[in-house]
Symmetry: C2
Subunit: 138 residues, 2 copies
DNA sequence: CTACTGCGCTAAGTCTACCAAGCGTGCGCT
DNA sequence: AGCGCACGCTTGGTAGACTTAGCGCAGTAG
């Protein structure tokens, strides 16, 4: 079943990229998603297949739709889910395949600055994660 | 977490009722859904919580939408999903809360007889299951 | 320099979703 | 009567989802 493994790996990479876009460290996201940080690490590297509950928790923490993750795992026939009413902008941006990572970050930053004053969604990162990471010797 | 347990039991009962409506025995459905029959038995009685994969297999075998089951388990925020294009009639009937079980059975029977000749979806039950079952001593 | 903190990862254990084998019952046959 | 088959359920066992403890590294502060 290499197909499932590919999907698993793709899901992990997707989660990791979304986490980075949201500017969260692995441990922060793990806390938000109510899982342990080593486990989330393996999930992101495609070693373990997360249960649907865990996927939902991760989706909620990342503020993306759970359908999105389910679809990636082939659990949902189909189609791209409609973005939600409220905070759909950020998700739409993050998911747009025609935007580069930098473009997404920029757009989101601008969007947040625009909506800064009004009805802010509570989302504190007390400390921004240190983004740098040296590659382990292959 | 009694909430989750209730949901689990409700899901099991729902699956069992849908299986009966589809006129399938436990073993038949287990075979269609690619799970073992004892396991399906426990799932229907709310003892075990099926994984999303299993839920999808069951949904496919019962010809209902996977979203439906996910939503029942609280894995999907949403509301009742729109029935699919082709073959949605039977599902719509089965899911209608305003119909009794007998009404559903009757309707489905009529519907099948009407659509009998044309493009039949492959669904063989070589033998109808014996529906009778005496209650075990409580 | 040492001490502290946060990062991601490895290692070892626990728990439970899922399976194969087998039991007891009820029905239809000869 | 007895045989055979299908029904649903109980019982161990295996594997993998998930946890807690701890490693090594990089940055910042005293």
């Amino acid at each position: 079943m290499t197909l499932a493994e590919d999907r698993l790996k793709a899901l992990g990479e997707f989660i990791r990229s979304q986490r980075r876009l949201a500017n969260l460290s692995l441990r922060q996201l793990a806390r938000l998603a109510k899982v342990s940080n080593p486990y989330l690490s393996q999930v992101e590297r495609g070693i373990y297949k997360p249960s649907a509950e865990v996927m939902k928790h991760i989706a909620d923490a990342l503020e993306i739709s759970a359908e999105n993750l389910y679809t990636r795992m082939g659990l949902l026939e189909g189609r791209a889910p409609a973005p939600r009413a409220g905070g759909g902008v950020e998700e739409a941006v993050r998911l747009d395949p025609r935007l580069s990572t930098d473009q997404k970050e920029a757009l989101i930053r601008v969007y947040r600055s625009m909506t800064a004053g009004r009805a802010p969604r509570p989302r504190r990162h007390t400390s921004a994660p240190r983004t740098v990471r040296s590659k382990p010797p292959s």
